[in-house]
Amino acid sequence: MIPDVLGSTPDMAESLFAFLHGSTPEKLAILNLAGVSWIHPYGAVALFEVCRYFHRLFQKRIHLTGLRTPIHAYLRRIDFFERGKDVVYTSEPFSTKDDMNRSLSSSNMLEISPICASHQIYDVTTRAQRILTCWLGQTHADIGRIVTLISETCSNAVDHSGDKGVITIQKYEQKYFTEAMLGIGDIGQGIQQSLMAAHGSIAPTCVGYIQKALAGFTARPNKRGGLGLGRIRDIAVESGGNLYIRSETGSVYISSSGTIVKENLFSFPGTQISITFQSKRRD
C-alpha cells in the first residue's frame, strides 16, 4: 500500500519511488492508494510518471485500487485516467455525483496536460494564464511571472528530456496569500545525461548536475539560456515559494530559508519538479 505521501512535501514522495524498487512487477501492477488522503500536483505527476515508467518496462498498465472517493474524484478531475489511459486504470466504483466542478470560474486546477511540442506548451500556458487571472485577479506581474515559470519549465522538459512531459497546477487559498503549485515531470534522460552530452563530466553526482543547471549550464547547441532553472528558482523563491528538482538519484530543494540537497535517492529516470509560487491576497 502506498503511504500517504502524495500530498506532502515533494521529498516525501520518495516512498513512491522506493516502492518501485522493493516490489516485483506483479505486485507493482496493483497500487493500493487506500492510505492516500491528499494529492498535491507533484504527487500526481510522480504517480503518473511511475505508471508511465512501469508501462515502459513491462508493457502493462498499473491498476490503482483502494481509492478514497475524494482522491478518486480529484484524479478524475485532473484527467489522470483520461491522459493516462494507456498506462493506468482503476476499476473502483465511482458515482458521477461525486465528480468535482469543472467551471473555469470555480476551478482550482489545471488538469494534467501533456507537453511534448511547442504548441502544447503554448496552449497549456495560455489556459493556465486564464485560470490564474480568475484565481489572482489582475495582479498582473504575478501572473506574468507564473506564465514565465510554466513556459520555461515546460520547454526544458521538451527540449532536454528526450521524452514527453506532463504538467498540472493547483491553487490553494491560505490565510494571507494564494499558492499556486505546479508539478511537472518526465521520464526522459535526466539533467545529468543532458548536460554530460553537451559538456562531458562536469560534476561528480546527480545533485552536482542539478546545481550546474541552476547555475546556467545548458545542453542547448547554441549555449543559450541554460535550462532556465535559475530563472524559475528566482521567480518562485522571490515570491516566498520554493523549487524542488528531482533528477535520477539526486534532488535539490530551494526556498528562502536555504537549499537542501539529497543524494543516493532511489533511481528514477527523468526529471520531476515541484514549484510553489505565492501571491499575496488583496482582501
Binding site: H119, G144, T148, S151
Partner: protein
C-alpha cells in the same frame, strides 16, 4: 521612427496570443524583426510596440530583442536604434533576467508611459550621463563636461560609449567652433 507591432507576430508564428513564448518561436520571429530593423533609415529608430503582449518569456526574449541588441552593438545594422515601447513588467523582468543570465554587457531602451529608461547592463557613470541627456534633451561633450565637471575627453568617451551601445542618437554639426557631435535620445 518606424513602428513594429509585436502582436503582428501572432499570425506570422501561428500562435493565438497574447504571449510571446518559447525559444523556437523566438528563433522564427527573429528574421522578421531583423528585416523590420534593416528597413529603418540610418540614424533612426525601430519602435517595437508591445501593446497587446501580455508576457514575453526569457527564452523568446533571448532569441529576439536581446539578440537584436547584441547584433546592434556589434554594428551589424549600422546607425540604428531599437526602442521597446510599453512592455509589461513581467516582460521587462524576463528581458533583464535574460541579459543577466547570458552575462551580456548590453542594454536596451524602453518606454514606460511617457518616460524612457534603460534596462540591462550599463555602467553607473554611463547611466548618469544618459539621464542627463534625457533631462536636457541633447548634449555635446562640452556641455556634459561642464555639467559634471569632467575632462572633455572623459565626457566625449562617455557619450561615444552610449552611442555605440545604441542608447543615444548622434548627429554632426558644423559650427563656427568646428565640427561637433550632438547626442540625443530618440523622440
Amino acid at each position: 521612427m518606424k513602428r513594429f507591432e509585436m502582436t503582428s507576430l501572432f499570425a506570422k508564428l501561428q500562435i493565438p496570443g497574447p504571449n510571446l513564448l518559447l525559444r523556437n518561436y523566438g528563433q522564427s520571429a527573429f528574421p522578421i524583426l531583423e528585416q523590420a530593423l534593416e528597413e529603418v533609415p540610418p540614424g533612426q529608430i525601430l519602435a517595437l510596440i508591445f501593446a497587446g503582449i501580455s508576457v514575453m518569456d526569457t527564452s523568446f526574449a533571448e532569441e529576439t530583442v536581446i539578440e537584436l541588441a547584441s547584433r546592434l552593438i556589434q554594428e551589424s545594422y549600422g546607425d540604428r536604434l531599437v526602442l521597446l515601447d510599453q512592455p509589461t513588467p513581467a516582460t521587462i523582468d524576463n528581458i533583464e533576467g535574460g541579459i543577466a543570465r547570458l552575462k551580456a554587457k548590453l542594454a536596451l531602451l524602453i518606454r514606460e508611459g511617457a518616460k524612457m529608461r534603460v534596462i540591462g547592463h550599463i555602467e553607473p557613470n554611463l547611466i548618469e550621463t544618459w539621464h542627463l541627456v534625457s533631462e536636457r534633451g541633447e548634449l555635446t561633450a562640452r556641455m556634459l563636461a561642464d555639467a559634471l565637471e569632467l575632462e572633455i575627453n572623459t565626457a566625449s568617451t562617455r557619450l561615444h560609449k552610449l552611442y555605440k551601445a545604441r542608447l543615444l542618437l548622434r548627429r554632426e554639426e558644423i559650427t563656427s567652433e568646428g565640427r561637433q557631435h550632438i547626442y540625443a535620445l530618440p523622440l
